[in-house]
Symmetry: none
Subunit: 205 residues, 4 copies
């Protein structure tokens, strides 16, 4: 009933570990980050780390979920102040634009690296799916809202549109992973925004 240390302590430690690990994964990618990197940054022992997480994988999954939940929560808050569906989409593109290419690259590495890893380990796919679903739902809700309010076309498939939205954005990130300059990146982001909004808004074919 009463563990040696309080649950709160454990929870905080968990979070602290996740934060430290996040920095490492973001800096070097999942595969290239060693457990040694993580514990060195945190100033804890490997044993301690393995007391909280069963494996490097598990750390990644929990961390990704936490991040995703944060992002979803943050977006929900922001969205409250935005009247329309199109505004929300624009807001998202603004966010993308604000992120530097360097930042973007780090996140892309962080995610892609694990996706590749997961794609060869069936156990991880489900975890990752749940993770991605959250991102999809945020967008899907916007799409449905837009269709309801008439901002977006009436024949819009909200789910497909959500996929499409992220594909567009992640594909761009992907193409700028290894090179490309900031200016070019933002130009395409502008084009993408126009393209997406036009597609969403356009009258049914």
């Amino acid at each position: 009933m009463s563990p040696k240390v309080s649950e709160t302590y454990k929870e905080e430690k968990r979070a602290a570990i996740l934060t430290g690990a996040l920095h490492c994964f973001v800096e070097k990618g999942f595969q290239a980050t060693t457990v040694e990197d993580i514990v060195r940054r945190l100033g804890i022992s490997k044993g301690a780390l393995y007391g909280y997480f069963a494996s490097k994988e598990e750390m990644y999954i929990q961390m990704a979920n936490a991040r995703m939940d944060d992002m979803v929560a943050s977006l929900s808050t922001q969205f409250k102040g935005l009247p329309g569906a199109a505004d929300k989409i624009r807001y998202l593109f603004d966010r993308f634009r604000k992120q530097s290419l360097l930042e973007l690259r780090k996140w892309v590495t962080f995610h892609l690296d694990f996706m590749i890893y997961a794609s060869r380990n069936p156990d991880l796919i489900e975890s990752h799916d749940r993770y991605m679903d959250k991102a999809l739902h945020v967008i899907q809700d916007i799409m449905e809202e837009g269709r309801r309010t008439g901002e977006f076309r009436s024949d819009l498939d909200a789910s497909s549109a959500a996929y499409l939205f992220w594909s567009v954005r992640d594909g761009l990130a992907l193409h700028f992973l290894l090179g490309g300059d900031e200016k070019n990146y933002r130009k395409i982001l502008d084009d993408m925004e126009k393209m997406v909004l036009r597609f969403l808004a356009s009258a049914p074919v």
Copy 2:
């Protein structure tokens, strides 16, 4: 198996090695494929392999380039029979649609895995850039053609549009890397096609 062989022999062996390695890379990804995997599959010795390629990296690069060149050549041929720029874009989406999700996943793994690896090895970035440039140029040419013929908007930035095209497509592939069903995939591909064509064709803003 023997020396002073014809150039043909060597070329064929090279190709055979590349084919074998391709299977491995596609199956397990670049990082997870070991040289041992490749030589076991081919039934040759490691020394033999290193007689043809200086490193695992070089095998990947040459293989990717060969594949890219083939694709570019094949597209060029196909494009000869297609009158307009929009037709060419449509043809490309048709090709994407014909590819099974399984196939797609293999290729995504093949590419992404190496990109992640390359992103941490500056020497490789240049190689990869050259590789990607080929794909970009194929599309850029179409964009320029479309603008010239008036099929596409007059203010179209061919280079950005090429980036955008591939981003859209690769982003989709990315999102279906770990899951998703064939039907959904094709539905989104249809939407994408519409979205892209509408964007390209629309009058200047």
Copy 3:
């Protein structure tokens, strides 16, 4: 065998590894000694070894430095009881004479092998230079002392003389690396001693 051990434990283990490696290097030379040889001899794993030393090279360098420091310290102590510079030189030749040819050969192998290796790896040259400097300085000090006290000629270049001293000695070791009998070796050592002392003592030309 276990963690959070005392610094003493680690220091002892370090020393133990160095001792084991020393045996191997002395027995087979630097290049021919494999990491496998060392860990087998010590009964530890490769990982354990690499926890203490970053590379085979580093093991060698630290080992050589430790040995050199010991030798310098031992000589310093001995020299305290010796009144003159010539006495110190004589003492050194005595030490050389006491060393068996077998011993000598091992040490020559130990050093030469690494020198050859280092001569092709610029990074290592500096390390090795520092190492040799220590030996040179010990002798240089004697030369300066002798010049000051008038035991040695007044125009003696202490630095050159130090080089000369070691060259003479190491050259001899070199020539007995592959063959030669103990008696002959000692006879030449006697001659060398006379030759060197006469050179040092002789009046300016």
Copy 4:
């Protein structure tokens, strides 16, 4: 009775291979030179090379012997014109002085590298001994001549003195293998010459 190709041809080819291999060994040392290096330089095949020499070792031994014979022959010729034993020693030191440090280093690497290698392979020791004996005899003859003519002390042990001569010289080379500047090298060479001549010439103790 009559081989396919003339003995002359074979002999010339042997010599050509040896010359090419010499360049390689001198440039990179024995261990670091690969058979591939040698055949590439010569423009012949490995099979051809192995038709003339059973191993890399054998090439080295024969090459070293040839070089030594050349050197001995060259010295013999030079010595004809030199009236005294001391002159001959002085001539040798002149030769040493004429050699650049770069040249010297190459030769030292060439020899040392193989000595280390040989010291672990008993079969090779004998070969190497014979090789060194030639060098020793050249000097021994001078020593004996000097003693006979009264130029050198009457109690001189010609064999020991020969050892001593080479030790002095090779030891110096050794110390300049990894570093040191030309000027310093020559200064010590001068000192050595004085030291050696004084030792040889001095009256019995």
